[in-house]
Symmetry: C2
């Protein structure tokens, strides 16, 4: 049995930045154990995976998984495999989305994107291998019951693929570049592209904790709002932040005529929408019969990053 | 309960071409149920998936899974989800391998490759979605115990990714284009690139049937030889067959200076090696205390296609 803490320390005093840092450390250490070393063949693919995986991202998705799991009293040791799997899926999607034929991005988290550094073929393979490894990581976690593992894998696979997951969102987003879309369309795209994996994060944490069906519904609604909030603030940051703050090329959205909240509604209205979604997310937490300070702080954090 | 036959008819009289056709029909019908229709958004991705999935491939991998499962008396109905998952992984790998930055192929199974027909971005997304759907398909099969589903997903994920699966093989194959490699290196690449998924096919069939650990070992050894045989005959066909017979551009290997058996040993020696591997595969079947006519016929079939 590994010596994981039963609970992430910062949960108790709800210092969100400490909580995020602690989660990142725990998850990174576990990812480091699960991902083949750079010295193992094929070294180029493993180097590419590690380049993109350990690039100093905030780790919001695994943190949300841990926060939700801990809210329902699941021990950290049982949450780490799905937290890693989620981060693997997220990172594979970034690697593939940055490719020249997709969003064509050279800069991500303050450094060269995977294909710029390692070439397109290796970047495609690194993403493909990460997706396999994500499902393998959950399947191989012998601390969790087979039933729960199957449940987690189903959640993650649905959230990743089509017709309602992340890949569907990315496909619709690319299609939307060539035409005018409505606010409803935009929200639908985001619900899949970013939202599906954020909802999966919260749900997986709750599933490991063994929550009731009703609690799982509330968690999903809360996380759905969190995902939307994340995308609105992401769009706002693309307009208002510098490359240095952002760690990626700003203004890309406008340049590629991407549908965004600021483009569709203007900056002020987008900010108001963010405030509304944040408030709704917090209101939902009142239905959970436990201390939800940490989940509220997650919503505060995402809301404030674009303020 | 669906009305699947308990056993594929051709198993009884061991007519391999009928068996392959029957498997293809069963698996295609199940794939058609599992893959979102072309009319479901994102339509372009679903069209691309179906374009590559229903392209008239022989379906050797799912057939091997069914043949192995049936050898150990597993009912067809329990074998179909992993057979579909395997074909999804195989097809996603073909879509990605054909991309311009990888093998750059325009023709596959007698028609345009996925990216030529639907564009690179859609081809990448179609492959990504197929991989998620493969794991989802097994995870959602309520007819199989949770324990077996976890086992099957672990097998498939390991066989697909790195450091020893299909993606590792493709990565090493691309690296090998730029340098001289030995016969041992070549065999190692093939064992991963083609072999891993063929071994997984046989193992998954045996796992669903609930075989002993010892039987699983024999099945793995047999399928390992089958995978190698498949690659040698594939290399031979690339040299000797016409585009019409092949359904893809012949001579691509030599053109791209790919390491192949004929290139390394010459055509005659490659044919001799194929005969030897075929014989070894059949010898292994004698260790199985059941009628193995069908598994022997699979090896005959693969051997003879390049004769």
């Amino acid at each position: 049995m590994k010596a994981f803490p039963e609970m992430v320390t910062a949960v108790r005093d709800c210092d969100l930045l400490s909580f995020l840092a602690e989660c990142r450390e725990l998850v990174d250490a576990e990812l480091d154990r699960r991902i083949p070393a750079e010295t193992i063949e094929p070294t180029r693919v493993h180097s590419a995976i590690r380049w993109s995986m350990f690039a100093g991202g905030k780790g919001l998705r695994p943190a949300l998984l841990l926060a939700t799991g801990q809210t329902f009293e699941a021990p950290v040791s049982l949450l780490l495999s799905s937290a890693c799997a989620l981060e693997m899926i997220h990172t594979y999607s970034l690697i593939h989305d940055d490719l020249p034929s997709m969003d064509d991005d050279d800069l991500r988290r303050g450094r060269s994107t995977c294909h710029v550094r390692f070439g397109e073929a290796t970047a495609i393979l690194a993403g493909d291998a990460l997706q396999s490894l994500a499902f393998q990581t959950i399947a191989e976690d012998g601390q969790i019951s087979n039933e729960t593992r199957v449940h987690l894998i189903t959640e993650l696979a649905r959230a990743s693929g089509t017709p309602l997951g992340m890949v569907a969102g990315q496909a619709r987003d690319l299609e939307a570049e060539s035409r005018e879309i409505s606010g409803d369309d935009l929200e639908k795209i985001h619900r899949m592209k970013t939202g599906a994996l954020i909802v999966a994060a919260a749900r997986c944490g709750a599933i490991v904790a063994g929550v009731s069906r009703q609690e799982l519904e509330v968690v999903s609604d809360y996380a759905g709002h969190l995902g939307l909030l994340f995308q609105i603030t992401d769009d706002l940051l693309d307009v208002t932040a510098s490359a240095e703050d952002l760690g990626k090329t700003p203004g890309k959205d406008a340049q590629s005529k991407k549908a965004t909240y600021p483009a569709l509604y203007g900056i002020d209205a987008a900010r108001q929408r963010a405030a509304q979604v944040h408030q709704e997310a917090c209101a939902m937490l009142e239905e959970i019969d436990r201390p939800t300070t940490l989940l509220r702080a997650m919503s505060d954090f995402i809301f404030q990053r674009s303020a």
